[in-house]
Amino acid sequence: MDFSLSEDQRALRAGMRELLAGRFGRERMRAAVESGGGVDRGLWAELGAAGFFALRLPEAEGGVGLGLPESVLLFEEAGRVLLPGPLVATHLAAGVVKGAAEGRAVVTVLDRGGPVQDLGDADALLVLGEVVSLAAPDSARGAVAVRSVDPLTALLRPVRPVVGAEPLPAMSGGTLRYEGALLTAAEQLGSAARTLEAAVQHARGREQFGVAIGSFQAVKHLCAQMLVRTELARAAVYAAAVTGDPAETAGAKLLADEAAVANARDCLQVHGGMGFTWEADVHLHLKRAWLRSGRWLTAAEAEEALASDLGAGEGAERG
């Protein structure tokens, strides 16, 4: 057993962090916020070239041939920098929707009639149900814009039921939902780790009463709890990526959602009044964390799945 990251995995993660720092640094991110979000096609293609979408496709099909653990590391990096766009849906559609693997196509997802992310920018729409099907984005024609809480994520609500024109028998709705939940959990993990860093950085630098506020126990304890949440979520997300177990994945989504939301709130608190301003990035993390919490697998669904798992009559399983 060696549950720690391999050298290759560390290198992969470092490479993605570097790419995103160069192409989607803070200024770029804030510019995207001011322009109302949306998908940057140039960046999308660069992500495609870096293997972000084709990571799990076999090399024979032009992919990178890696697995869920590696995908999770990349999505964690995307979550750290608040990278916008339907990243998860496009990644899941690689190999199924033409151009998705290369980052030439933008694929979004319709799940149980909820608002659809970045529909206006999408080339294809996955319709997620018992069976998965594919629809042209204009089959949701007339969809009404939702005033999205997250300024980096455009949301459109379809006005009539969308029927997928092309069934995708190779994709199971269950598998897709759980893989989507896991990759989303990885983004939440990245966001939780980032807001922890921001809180610690602020607590070290900001002085009140003549000392850094990080020397106050009340502030320390907020930060310590943020680390505890992050590390528990990390163990859950990484393990689910290795096992692919549905109950484990449900647990990972539950704990990562909690870590992202609660860490953003605590980070905001540590920043004081500054944290409540538009200029601080923390509200962007919080809003995206709320959005992700409602996608793929909600807390209620995850908890029900984990409760059903308790019926299996097992204690701690092997592995």
């Binding site: 057993m1 549950f3 391999s6 020397s215 528990l232």
Partner: protein, 385 residues
């Protein structure tokens, strides 16, 4: 991150251990009552002797200290399998095997190792821990029990508290102040004190659960040979920190496995009594399933990281302990809800556990102290108040 499976060798170790456990556990006598300390000592000692004879004693101890020098992964498997099989807990041997023993192994002289380590592994000598004092609990280094040199002896006077197993212990790992003028961390020494020495008085304390799990200990001019000091004089704080860092790595492995068993049993009980139809309760149990699954993975993560970095678990143990102690308390709160009106019945399973669980956020460093450790040592926040 790629490998949560075990090697062939580790699987064989697990299979042998399982087979051995299946063979010996049915023949064990019934567990003594929690208040029967001599009975508990005899029971725990007999189990330790069985482990010793089968080659499972001191699995994680260095070979030259009489142990097996096993990797943390093997230790993980051992703790997981013994708990799953319902084997006896380490019990009265806890301090000797997990704390005093490793301290002597790491810092003791050859004579000290030969004198103290084999009887611990064979279950023949029980140790207790004389660290905390009434005025020095979380602020452990503020301890005041004094040891004054008199020829080849230290003369020790003071008071210790929360001393588990003191009633039946043969030895006490005792922290004493040997230099009252030095800064508080610098004037402490680590002594092995025989519990039958004149001047040692043990008075059991009753816990809120009604049992006597620990005692207070009064030391009135107790003479301890200087030869019983482990490490240099006034260097006892460092000696202690060496072993504390080991304690938190795998100390809770068996307990996470136990919590998962309890949770499964709670779900079974809720189904049998119809409480399962309550969606709020059901979801609460589902949430706890996520907690304990993740805590198990966090243990494996910490063990893997420790193996990679050469065996010393870091402050990551504090991260684990914070979440674990809270989750385990929530587990017994959920148990009370499953029990309904029976949650007031001390004869129902889980009711005493619920009471005991109140200690988890206090013992071995309160959650408040753990958060300070996490904030200062892992996050690099400045020391303060």
């Amino acid at each position: 991150m790629t490998d949560l499976s075990y090697s062939e060798e580790e699987d064989e170790f697990r299979a042998r251990l399982r087979e051995w456990l299946a063979g010996v556990l049915p023949g064990l006598p019934p567990k003594p009552s929690p208040d029967d300390w001599p009975g508990r000592r005899a029971y725990d000692a007999a189990w330790q002797r069985m482990l010793y004879d089968a080659g499972y004693a001191g699995l994680h101890w260095p070979v030259d200290a009489g142990g097996q020098g096993a990797t943390p992964t093997r230790q993980l498997i051992f703790l997981e399998e013994t708990e799953k099989a319902g084997a006896p807990y380490v019990g009265a041997n806890f301090v000797g095997l997990l704390h005093a023993g490793p301290t002597v192994a790491a810092e003791g002289t050859a004579e000290q190792r030969a004198r103290w380590l084999p009887p611990v592994l064979r279950g023949e000598e029980i140790w207790c821990q004389g660290f905390s004092e009434p005025e020095a609990g979380s602020d452990l280094a503020a301890l005041r029990t004094r040891a004054v040199r008199d020829g080849s002896h230290y003369v020790v006077s003071g008071q210790k508290i929360w001393t588990s197993h003191a009633e039946v212990a043969d030895w006490c790992e005792l922290l004493v102040r040997t230099d009252p003028r030095a800064p508080k961390h610098r004037g402490i020494s680590w002594l092995a004190m025989p519990m039958d020495a004149p001047g040692v008085t043990v008075r059991p304390l009753r816990t809120l659960a009604g049992s006597t799990e620990f005692a207070e200990m009064f030391l009135d001019e107790v003479r301890v040979p200087v030869a019983n000091r482990v490490g240099q004089e006034n260097d006892g704080w460092r000696v202690t920190m060496v072993t504390l860092s080991f304690e938190r790595g795998t100390a809770f492995v068996g307990e996470v496995v136990a919590c998962r068993r309890t949770l499964a049993a709670l779900a079974g009980e809720a189904r049998a009594t119809g409480r399962w139809d309550d969606a709020v309760l059901r979801r609460r149990l589902g949430r706890l399933n996520a907690e304990f699954r993740a805590l198990w993975r966090l243990t494996q993560w910490n063990v893997s990281e420790a193996e990679r970095s050469g065996g010393v678990p870091g402050a990551g143990g504090s991260v684990f302990k914070l979440r674990y102690s809270q989750a385990r308390q929530e587990l017994y709160e959920a148990a009370a809800e499953v029990l309904g009106a029976d949650a007031c019945d001390l004869d129902r399973e889980w009711v005493l556990d619920r009471l005991s669980s109140l200690s988890y956020t206090i013992a071995a460093g309160t959650s408040q102290i753990q958060r300070n450790i996490v904030a200062e040592r892992l996050l690099g926040l400045p020391k303060g108040r």
